[in-house]
Amino acid sequence: MMPARVLRIRSTPLRLTVILSVIFTATSLACFATTFFLVRANLTAAILSDMQQTVDTFGSTADLAELREHLTEAALTTDPAYRILHFLPDDGAVIANVKRAAPVSGFAVLPGSDFATSDRPLAESYQVRSLRIGDGQLIVAQSRDSIIEMAEVFAAAVLMGLLPAIGIAASAGLWVARRTQQRIGTIQTALSAITSGQTAARVPGVAGRHDDLSGIGQDVNDMAAAQEALLVSMRQVSTDIAHDLKTPIQRVSVLLDQVMTKTDLSAAQETLLLRAKDETACIVRTFQALLQLAQIEGGAARDRLTAVDLTDIARDVVDFLEVDAEARGLILTTDLTSDAIVAGERQLLSQLLVNLIQNAMLHGGDGGSIQVTVSTGPDGVTLVVADRGPGIPEHERSKVLQRLYRLERSRTADGNGLGLALVAAVCTLHRAHLTLADNAPGLAARIDFPKPPSGTGMFAQGPHLPQ
C-alpha cells in the first residue's frame, strides 16, 4: 500500500524534483565509490611493492650471518607502526621489532591487535606476508593505515560535501517545485472557477512574465475573456428578447383584460377570451421557465449557496402540495431525517422538489402513493421522490432531463417539458448527483447532495432579504 502511495506523486514538478534528486544522489555516490576503489587499489599496490622491496633486500642476502645482522639492524631501526619485521629462525632467538606476531602463512591482512610490542604503538591494520628466508620464517607486515586514512577522508568528503549538496539540491528543487506547483495551482483554480460558471475568474500574475506557465495562464485568461464576452452578449440578447417579447405579451394580456371588462359579451365570447388569456399565460410560463433555466445553468447562483435544511424545505413543499395529491386520490408520504444540511439555494431546492412531486403526481399513475425521503449519510444528504406509476423506460431516462423533451404518452398531459430539465440544472448547480431509477414499479428520482464543505467560507451569512 505505502510504496504505491509514494510512487504516485500527483504534482508533476514535485515528482520531477524527486526523480532528479534521486538521480543526482545516485550519480554522485557512484562517482565517489569509483574514485574510492581506484585510489584504494593504487595504495594497496604501493604497499605491496614496498613490501616486495623489503623482502627482496633480505632475500638477496645469501650469507646467513649477514642476513641475521641485516635483520637485527632493520628490526632496531624500523618503526613497527610503519612496518613489522619478525624473523623466526629454525634455531636461535627471534629477531623482531615486535614481541609477538600472529602465526600466518602467505599473504594476509591482519589487524594491529594480532601483534604486540612492549611500549611502541602499532598501526590499525597490516598487509602481511610470511615467507621462508635463509634458515627461518620471515613475517613482514606493512601498515595499511594510509588506506584507512584515505577511507576516512572519503567518508568525510561524502559527509561534508555530498550530503549538504544533496540537501541543497533537494530543497532548491522542492522550492522550485512548490513555486511551479503554486503557479499551476492558480491556473487550475481559475480554470475550475471558469468552468463552474464564474466567467469573471482569471489567472493572477501572468502580466510581465514571459515563461511557458505565464503563456498558458494568459491563454486561459484570453479564453475566459472571450467566453465571458460571449456569455454577456448571450445574456444581453436573452434579456433583450425577454423584454422585447414580454412587453407585447403584456400588451396582449392588457387588451384581453380590457375586452373582458366589456359587459355585452356573450358567454361564448367570454369563454374564447378566457382561453386566449390562458394561452398567453402559458406562453409566458414557458418563456419564464426557459429564461430561468438559462440563468441557473449560468451558475451565478452558486455564489449564494448557504446552509439550508433540506428537511425543512421538503416539509414546506409537501405541506403545500399534500392537498393537491389528496384531490388526485394520491397519498403523499414522507420519511424525513432532521438536520439534513446542504449547501443550497432555498428557492431553487423548493422548486426542484415541487417539480419532482408534481411530475410524480402527473405521471405517477392513479391511486398510488408518492414517497418523499430525506436521509443523511457519511457522504452527504440524499433526497428521493418515488412514485408507483409506469416509470420511465431506461433508454429515455437521460432524454427526459433535456429541455422540452416529453415522453410519447405524456404529450397530452399538462406541463411544458421543462420541469425535469430544471431539476437537472438545479442539481448541477448544487454539485448534486441526480439518478432516475426503477422503483419497480414506478420512478425513483434520487438526488445525492455532497457533504457541505466544513469551515465558514461556504457558509458566510447569505444575503438577508425582506420576504
Binding site: 425577454a242 423584454h243 410560463r285 429564461l291 414546506d316 403545500f320 432555498r346 428557492q347 423548493s350 444575503p463
Partner: protein, 224 residues
C-alpha cells in the same frame, strides 16, 4: 394614495395608470428614468411603481439613488426578468416588492396596497378579530361564534395572513410567499385548494362567508 409610475412602455404605463386611477388613486406617469428620478425627488408619493428596464437611467439606478438620498418611499419593481437572481438584485437595490411581467392588474393592485399601507410595526397583537371570528395568537385558538375550530398549523398560518391584512386583497402568489415561502411560480392552483379547506372549517358550518374570492386577484377576509 399618491402613486408615481415610471414605465417606458406607453401601453403598459397607461394600463397601470388607468387601472389605479379607477381604484381612486392619484397617479403620475413618467416614461424615462431620469425624469422619474426628478419627479420622485420633488414630489411626495405613497408608492412608486418602477420598471426595471428604462431608457437612459435604468430602474435599479433610480431606486438606488433614491435610497442613497434617504428617500424611503415604498417601491414596487416591474420587470421582464423573473429569476431568483433578479428578485434578489431588485430587493438589494432597495425595492420593497417585485412583480414579473406580464402580470394581472389584480396582482399589481394588491401588492401596491400591501407595500403602501404596511402595518406600522407596533406591539404584536395578541388576538385578531374579524366579525365573530377570533384568533388568539398566543394560545393559537380559533373560535367563531364562540365555537372552537380545529385548524392544522398551515391553515392557521393562512388564516392569520388573511386576518392580519383584513379588508385587503391577498393574491395567490402573495399567500404562497408569506405562508409557504415560495417565491417562484409552482404552476399549480393548489392555493385555491388550501383556501377551500379553510373555508370548509371557518365558513361553511356558520352559513356566512368571511373569506371572499376577488375575481382576477385573490382572496380577502372582509371586515364586516
Amino acid at each position: 394614495m399618491k402613486i408615481l409610475v415610471i414605465e417606458d412602455d406607453a401601453a403598459t404605463g397607461a394600463y397601470i395608470a388607468d387601472g389605479l386611477r379607477e381604484e381612486g388613486h392619484s397617479v403620475d406617469l413618467i416614461a424615462s428614468g431620469a425624469d422619474g428620478l426628478v419627479q420622485a425627488t420633488i414630489g411626495t408619493y405613497d408608492v412608486m411603481v418602477v420598471d426595471r428596464m428604462l431608457p437612459g437611467l435604468d430602474g435599479m439606478s433610480v431606486v438606488k439613488t433614491l435610497r442613497a438620498t434617504k428617500n424611503a418611499t415604498p417601491v414596487l419593481f416591474l420587470t421582464a426578468m423573473g429569476g431568483v437572481d433578479d428578485r434578489i438584485a431588485g430587493l438589494h437595490a432597495g425595492a420593497d416588492d417585485y412583480l414579473v411581467k406580464p402580470f394581472a392588474f389584480g396582482e399589481l393592485s394588491a401588492r401596491i396596497a400591501a407595500i403602501g399601507r404596511r402595518p406600522k410595526m407596533q406591539d404584536d397583537p395578541i388576538s385578531l378579530t374579524v366579525a365573530d371570528l377570533d384568533m388568539n395568537l398566543l394560545t393559537r385558538k380559533v373560535t367563531r361564534a364562540g365555537q372552537i375550530i380545529d385548524l392544522l398549523p398551515r391553515e392557521f398560518a393562512l388564516l392569520e395572513q388573511l386576518m392580519r391584512r383584513k379588508g385587503r386583497v391577498q393574491t395567490r402568489t402573495m399567500l404562497m410567499e408569506s405562508v409557504w415561502d415560495i417565491h417562484y411560480d409552482p404552476l399549480t392552483n393548489v392555493v385555491d385548494t388550501h383556501i377551500s379547506r379553510l373555508r370548509a372549517k371557518i365558513d361553511k358550518p356558520f352559513g356566512s362567508e368571511l373569506i371572499e374570492t376577488v375575481r382576477g386577484a385573490g382572496y380577502r377576509i372582509n371586515v364586516a
